[in-house]
Symmetry: C2
Subunit: 182 residues, 2 copies
Amino acid sequence: MGLGNPQETCLKAGILRDYTPTSSLKVVAMELSPDWVVGFTDGEGCFFVGINRNPSTSVGYQVLPEFVIVQHKRDIQVLYALKRFFRCGVVRPNHDDRYAYRVRDLQGLRKVRDFFLKHPLKTKKRIDFLRFNRILTMMERGDHLKLDGLLEIVQIALRMNTGNRPQLEQVAAEIKQRLQAG
Amino acid sequence: MGLGNPQETCLKAGILRDYTPTSSLKVVAMELSPDWVVGFTDGEGCFFVGINRNPSTSVGYQVLPEFVIVQHKRDIQVLYALKRFFRCGVVRPNHDDRYAYRVRDLQGLRKVRDFFLKHPLKTKKRIDFLRFNRILTMMERGDHLKLDGLLEIVQIALRMNTGNRPQLEQVAAEIKQRLQAG
């Protein structure tokens, strides 16, 4: 994945080259406004909570919340501009010709959460965000490290996005069984 | 497509019901800012130019530019808010569970054009918009009513969006043949 040539490096820096009529080279950083970021996230953003099996944790599962925006590689400069806007996250290759801006660390997710609490989404994605926020708050309290807290998190995650996650249903069933077995 | 019950009527009016803690009912119109509209269009908007066979026109083809935003029906209130924002266009059912906000008339498209000239898109969709604008300008001059102007419009349309339009390639080939035949 070569990002070494000048054009791609510029893109990587979230910068657009703009040739003026005098043919002098003007380098313009892409400035994003809060409202643009809300509108773009209403369209393209995703608040997702993954649950992975992980035997090294006390409950056997790891909760992985993430905020992600995927774009075709032609718009990689927008992803880098988002990274600069939120001052967190990473831009990485995704499937095919796509790149993703992704925030996974708790410190970064707090910045994202604070932003969308202050600047609410307009679409029904707002409801996913509020569920996401609820899971983050539970994780900050350490609820994900206890079986009953984990079950509640899984049940909230099942109501997010399309809700079509058969593997996560399976995880919920397993945790319920373990809780019943005491 | 029943839009008669109170909840759906509210959605149709682009209005969100917001229950306050005192359980009194507050009706809030969804207010869109220009930057939100730009961000949302960067994510979800489409500038499209259709070319239809139409024997009743002088050149045998009709040029149909449109600005369209499609959403799941759960976000129909955003589409009505866009209609109020641009003061033009219609909201209509689309495929499956989806609705579309669509602007097709020239007067409405001029409003949309003026807005995006004043508030530029941030993604590469800006390039599609500029091509769309060029086609609109040509249509205002009547270029689409002459065979050579129509060919230029078709060639611009072929460079828009994904560019994968075999039927439009066919139209371009037909027009070229007619131009060569004099």
